[in-house]
Subunit: 420 residues, 2 copies
Amino acid sequence: MEKEISAEIMTIGDELLYGQVIDTNSAWLGQELGKIGIRVKQITSISDNPNAITDALTQAISRADVVLITGGLGPTKDDLTKHTLTRYFNTDLQLHQPSLDDVEEIFRKYNRPMLEVNRQQAFLPATCTPVRNVLGTAPGMLFQEQNTVIVSMPGVPFEMKRMVTDTVLPYLQQHYALPQIIHSVVQTIGIGESFLSETIADWEDNLPANIKLAYLPHLAGVRLRLTGFSKDGQDLEAQLQEQVDKLTALIPDHIFAYGEVPLEEAIGHLLKERNLTISTAESCTGGLVAHKLTSVPGSSSYFLGSVVAYSNEVKKAQLGVSAETLEQHGAVSEETVCAMAQGVRQLLKTDIGISTSGIAGPDGGTPDKPVGTIWIAYADAHQTVARKINYNKTRQLNIEYTTLQVLDLVRQSLRRRVEE
Amino acid sequence: MEKEISAEIMTIGDELLYGQVIDTNSAWLGQELGKIGIRVKQITSISDNPNAITDALTQAISRADVVLITGGLGPTKDDLTKHTLTRYFNTDLQLHQPSLDDVEEIFRKYNRPMLEVNRQQAFLPATCTPVRNVLGTAPGMLFQEQNTVIVSMPGVPFEMKRMVTDTVLPYLQQHYALPQIIHSVVQTIGIGESFLSETIADWEDNLPANIKLAYLPHLAGVRLRLTGFSKDGQDLEAQLQEQVDKLTALIPDHIFAYGEVPLEEAIGHLLKERNLTISTAESCTGGLVAHKLTSVPGSSSYFLGSVVAYSNEVKKAQLGVSAETLEQHGAVSEETVCAMAQGVRQLLKTDIGISTSGIAGPDGGTPDKPVGTIWIAYADAHQTVARKINYNKTRQLNIEYTTLQVLDLVRQSLRRRVEE
């Protein structure tokens, strides 16, 4: 077997260490490198300080075949990476005319004055291969040292991503003979990590040696990731599929998708398949259910609209919840949430209406209905189903958890409809 | 001056390297340590593999005074950290009865069967100080080695956060004589990094040596972070405030908040101060504006509700946009977006109505109105203001950018109202 090609990611910036920015670039890079069979072995975040950059880079080069660096290439004074790399690789800066043309083009497009700091961004280390940045003013730089490929890119996610997709990945695929790694993801909901682990223990113990399993818990379930290693693509695909089929037989009710499909997209597929439309009536989730549903491209074919009914007035006037229901049972109750789901379905003329009403916190709880008391409902022409949730983490988590639960209620209700 | 106390964060898990989970723990830890004057110098993410953990830990201990480890303590088979630490610190596992009591209590509370893997979680290295986990089944472990404090915690964010706040930070404050670091954040919107940098260049050049400035660009503006270093708290606060005041005088129109206040919270303050209510009529943002507004605790005092009008039918029937307007100008037009803002204001009886309508992509563009063509509007009893945005990144970014822009339109409109 050939040598596995390994990568390290270095992200530069005090803002990462101080925690003022979350590093989302590394996860994306890890995914993209994984897809072409390069395995990330370490991610290191360091200060935008020449010594820290130099030390980390020396170590990374000694361990890895590929080092991808993000951050520290903007036009402002806290950006030191380019100058540090120029010294590190013992070269000097020179004007790279195509990069200057690109920068000028960007300022023309947005009709803004180009500044001297932006002109300076087109000066690059003489020994690097420039990496074009069509979405921003800082070009990337590719170096080779001791059989390691080093690429430095800006930290702005959409600029970096485009550069990686257009230039860096194709370069690495040409440069290295890459082995094959395939990930197969099975997404579950409504089953905890411990219970899941016991349920599938026998299957897990009998996995072939070249397939690894990982549990990736999330807010309302667990993502299971099978990772297969091989040099022979065809065989590995079939081998993974066989294991996924066995796993599916063990937990059929809890799987909502295969692969990196978010729950809202899985729901979208179900609705499209069945040619059904949906609307939402949201109190405590405040629009997040609608946002999730509409974050899926093409969702306008099944999602028609929503009413976010935060006040009781809106629940009454728009959704037709009766004053009596609200007085007798309160806004957070089975009766109200059912009336909301039915109400929005009728108001917006959709096949399905779903609703949420609860106390997301941190205030608003009572002894009777403490923070985290939440009702959700699903209504279609044949049935109305409500469910009570007790979940009290933070306001944001309570809202997100409720959103996942009401989307899963759609999944479960549609499954039942087919079975009946 | 006393020695600065430095920290490193180690996050463990193949899921981080493969990019299947984004590391949000490190950013939070960086913030919390910063607040008590401990500076994070490096964040390292590694595989859940005993050798990788041992190597990274040896290096981190050699460099830092504090090493915080997250991840790899769950009940499933891919979790190796506890066993690796037990070997690393040359000790063995023994039952920790209070931890077992906690685990049993959790299973009682959720009324689920406790499993053997969960019982195993109460076995801890004999030489560690256990760190209580009241929200989950894996206790933390605190070690001391070569004057370094090492704490290992589960990767589940809310469990880890609670342990840090309740136990780890108080311990570190007792253990070390900590210097003072104060961050002062000034949040701007509507001004690009380059132009901002030129506008404030003189001020930046004249900052005192103990105050550092960083530019943290985000989707629609730049967060400016001033970091002051001192041993004398009182003086540093005043020194930072003086610089913030000078900065404010240079860019008064672009500052929406001081400190870590999101735009939606700043808008909430403005509405509360003025005793105004708001509603939203959303097409392309699909509920995200409402979600942002309602993510602020207490937002029910000024936010009454929203209509997500994805289909033209809902725009007509609920928001009163005339068929004529939609036919003549289209759903993505100044006329439609103004009618939506006015319509939702009247429908939900609020002082202010705001609206969005645009082509978020990836499909739906025309030569006349390409993807990224977006209209937003603000309406109150005195005025209706519309604005056109051209922004075409990804669907998700287009939606998020539009959301920030329409919230900023509220800020600008309220500012103008006061000035008039």
